[in-house]
């Protein structure tokens, strides 16, 4: 099967990814300030920026969800067992022996099974946990009904715990760029949009004929 340079990350997807990155770093930084970990900002500045960044991120997510649904890109995140084991085994064992990564990107499967599973879990559990707890936290005055509710304690704790989990994800996510190829090899597709993808004959023919801008000449 031919391997060709194909634009697998569209403009919106790249904009979404990098804006999300900026907003998440902003939220982590200001959130840790509100939580009391550092004091490089005033509390009120931190709260203001945190609130605005959170609202911005949620707006971005609304567009991203719409984009995923309408373009069908959501299918990249469908979890599968097919090929999961060799990838897991690669990170746990084969990588140390210098073996190559077992997964080849496909046009309709740009993430490896472990990656897809991780992103799906992130989008289905961790992100909802942080924005549901965050909105509940932000609008506590509309549900606590004039008395100080003990539930706020759990809302806040779920929110902070989710934030720590997201920070852990970021750390591992960045480290993963160094595996199975060079750091820049993994980074560049999210900047230029293009990566080498194993195409079927039919996909190659389709792209060359119907979406010539998406595939680079061989």
């Amino acid at each position: 099967m031919p391997i060709r340079k194909v634009r697998i990350f569209d403009g919106f997807e790249r904009f979404w990814h990098w804006t999300q990155m900026l907003l998440i770093f902003t939220l982590l930084f200001t959130g840790l300030r509100i939580h009391g970990v550092h004091d490089w900002l005033n509390f009120d500045q931190a709260v203001n920026i945190h609130t605005l960044a959170a609202l911005g991120l949620m707006l971005l997510w609304v567009f991203a969800i719409f984009w995923h649904l309408t373009t069908g890109a959501w299918r990249h995140y469908l979890p599968t067992l097919n090929g999961l084991w060799p990838v897991a085994r690669y990170y746990a064992w084969d990588i140390f022996k210098g073996k190559p990564h077992p997964y080849r990107k496909h046009f309709w499967r740009k993430h490896n099974p472990l990656q897809a599973l991780t992103y799906a879990a992130l989008k289905l559990f961790l992100f909802p946990a942080i924005w549901v707890s965050g909105l509940t936290y932000l609008f506590y005055n509309y549900w606590q009904q004039g008395v100080s509710s003990p539930w706020l304690y759990w809302v806040a704790n779920i929110h902070v715990f989710s934030a720590y989990a997201i920070l852990s994800f970021v750390i591992i996510h960045v480290y993963m760029l160094t595996t199975g190829g060079s750091f820049s090899h993994h980074l560049m597709p999210m900047i230029s949009g293009y990566d080498e993808v194993e195409l079927t004959e039919a996909e190659e023919a389709y792209l060359e004929q119907d979406e010539p801008g998406r595939i680079k000449p061989s």
């Binding site: 509100i34 939580h35 009391g36 970990v37 004091d39 005033n42 509390f43 009120d44 709260v47 203001n48 609130t51 605005l52 990170y91 990588i95 140390f96 022996k97 210098g98 506590y140 005055n141 004039g146 008395v147 100080s148 003990p150 706020l152 304690y153 806040a156 704790n157 902070v160 715990f161 934030a163 720590y164 989990a165 920070l167 852990s168 750390i171 591992i172 480290y175 160094t178 595996t179």
Partner: protein, 571 residues
């Protein structure tokens, strides 16, 4: 030239010299004892001689009066009824009531006159006529002195005729020349006579003709000097408020709104809103932002600013979220006793009664922000501590004040709360309020475990001020008011709690969020609710740390192992 500091001493030595041939010698020896301004010793008793507005009389016209002019319909200088001659206060009052013919009926129902108050919630009988505080303790039985601040004439003892309207003192609240003053109704012990010296006679016709709505200089003459001197009692009511800089009080400052007290303490028919006996701790719909024609009889911040006072912005909306749980005062009065005048925070009656050369004396030991020295010891009262720019105590408060009265029995092993209150984060009507907490060690009835009435003022041999004998002063104080007394007194620790409402700072000086939203913040001790920045549990951070450090450690280990093994493969 005689400065303000040495003037009392000078007056005193002249006064003593007038009937004691050795006085000049005596005065010199006292003077030789003076090492510096701070430790000056003064003999004699001269309370309340320096109260009132010493500066220019304020003219409280505000932005509300568009062209900064009040438009009166009557020029009192031209009324034939006020041409005199008048020789006393009651004569002026008679003239006032001749035209204002319902004012007297209104005023004799007011607390300023009755010194009585029945609490509508607790049913407790309160008011100056019965209460005991932890400053000079009791006005009851000491009216001959304390009634200097009664809005009437001739309240010499507890048997005052409250129906005689001619004894109403219209002038103390309404005169505008700044030349009117009051002295104690009786002369007390001879050691107190200096308090009556050197007063210009009152020009009754002049003061009667220059009347208006009360200004700060009227209310402040008494209310800024509660507890025995400038700002002694409240902490947020001092002589600074006669002409406060904007950063001390944004409403009352002449550089700000120039409010008179009655702009907030609105009233009608000689009744004013805003009493700390029964406060509106949380003012919601019924008073917040009244529309024209609606009743307006509250002194709350919300009655002008509404219950959503902050602007429509991300920050403003979040601040508005606080209004239902945090009193405006908690953030907008960052500290009290600002502007250079200190407040008393600690009073020890046990040291009272020490004498020098057989006479009571005073010592100056605290220099306050405006440079003036305050007395840290007085034979008539004991020892004091002062503070300025004081960070308040914060407590949940629902507005209802309860009092330890003369008939309340208490456990003497614990400090007595002179007044106390409830409030709860689970109570919709409670908010977090700022308070001044006053600590005192004061006499009590050791046998009955009650507070005591002390006989402080009088020209007899029992009045503490002049005789300095607690046993006699308490015995007579209790007897003359018909209160059972075991005959044995001791001293207890007491606290009183003063809600802080005045000295509202400009908004740019309101508390920063961090002042409370931090582990060691102002609300450290105020528990029972979750507050961001303060209350996250330790286990959460431990869990977070494990997770983040685990991830970092995991990837570091993984990467290191890859590098080591790759190196080995190369070799």
């Amino acid at each position: 030239m005689i400065s303000g500091k040495t003037l009392p001493l000078f007056v005193l030595s002249v006064f003593l010299g007038s009937f004691l041939p050795i006085a000049p010698l005596f005065a010199v020896s006292v003077a030789a004892d003076i090492p510096s301004g701070g430790e000056k010793v003064e003999l004699g008793i001269s309370e309340y001689t320096d109260i009132g507005n010493r500066g220019k009389v304020d003219d409280p016209v505000t932005e509300l009066d568009k062209d900064k002019q009040r438009k009166f319909t009557t020029d009192h200088t031209r009324l034939k009824e006020l041409q005199g001659p008048f020789n006393s206060g009651p004569e002026v009052t008679r003239a006032c009531l001749g035209c204002h013919n319902t004012a007297g009926h209104q005023f004799i129902k007011n607390k300023h006159w009755t010194w009585k108050y029945t609490h509508p919630v607790t049913g407790q009988k309160l008011g100056k006529s019965v209460l005991i505080n932890n400053f000079c303790t009791n006005a009851r039985g000491n009216e001959g002195m304390c009634a200097q601040c009664h809005a009437g004439y001739n309240m010499k003892d507890s048997n005052f005729d409250f129906s005689n309207e001619e004894n109403i003192d219209c002038l103390v609240c309404h005169e505008s020349t700044g030349t009117y003053y009051k002295t104690p109704p009786t002369r007390g012990n001879k050691a107190c006579s200096v308090m009556f010296e050197g007063k210009q006679p009152i020009d009754w016709v002049n003061v009667a003709q220059h009347v208006r709505l009360p200004a700060r200089s009227n209310c402040g003459t008494c209310h800024f000097f509660g507890g025995g001197g400038d700002n002694v009692k409240h902490g947020d009511l001092s002589s600074v408020l006669f002409h406060p800089p904007r950063d001390v009080d944004v409403h009352m400052s002449e550089d700000g709104e120039n409010f008179a007290c009655i702009i907030c303490h609105v009233g009608e028919g000689h009744e004013w809103s805003g009493s700390r006996y029964n406060m509106i701790a949380k003012d919601e719909k019924e008073h917040a932002r009244p529309r024209p024609g609606m009743e307006r009889e509250t002194a709350t911040c919300e009655s002008c600013h509404g219950d959503k006072p902050h602007p429509l912005s991300v920050k403003g909306l979040k601040l508005n979220d606080h209004v239902d749980r945090v009193a405006c005062e908690s953030c907008h009065i960052p500290s009290f006793a600002r502007g250079g005048v200190a407040t008393k925070i600690d009073w020890d009656w046990t040291t009272a009664g020490r004498l020098r050369n057989g006479e009571g004396y005073r010592e100056e030991g605290y220099q306050q922000g405006n440079g003036e020295w305050r007395h840290t010891y007085k034979s008539i009262k004991g020892s004091f501590k002062y503070a300025e720019n004081v960070v308040p105590e914060y407590r949940w408060f629902n507005g209802v004040m309860r009092y330890t009265t003369i008939d309340t029995r208490f456990d003497p092993d614990k400090p007595v709360n002179i007044n106390y209150f409830s409030g709860d984060p689970q109570d919709k009507n409670s908010r977090i309020w700022p308070f001044k907490r006053m600590h005192t060690r004061q006499p009590y009835d050791k046998g009955n475990n009650t507070l005591v009435y002390m006989h402080l003022w009088g020209d007899d041999d029992a009045a503490f001020w002049g005789n300095y004998d607690f046993a006699k002063a308490i015995k007579v104080g209790m007897e003359k008011n018909g209160i059972p007394y075991s005959g044995e007194y001791g001293f207890i620790d007491s606290y009183s709690w003063w809600p802080i409402n005045h000295m509202v700072a400009p908004k740019e000086q309101a508390l920063a969020c961090d002042e409370c939203h931090s582990r060691e913040g102002r609300l450290k001790e105020v528990r029972g609710f979750y507050m961001p920045g303060r209350d996250a549990p330790r286990w959460l951070d431990l869990l977070g740390l494990l997770m983040v450090a685990g991830s970092l450690g995991g990837v570091a280990g993984h990467g290191l192992l890859r590098m080591l093994l790759a190196g080995r493969r190369k070799n």
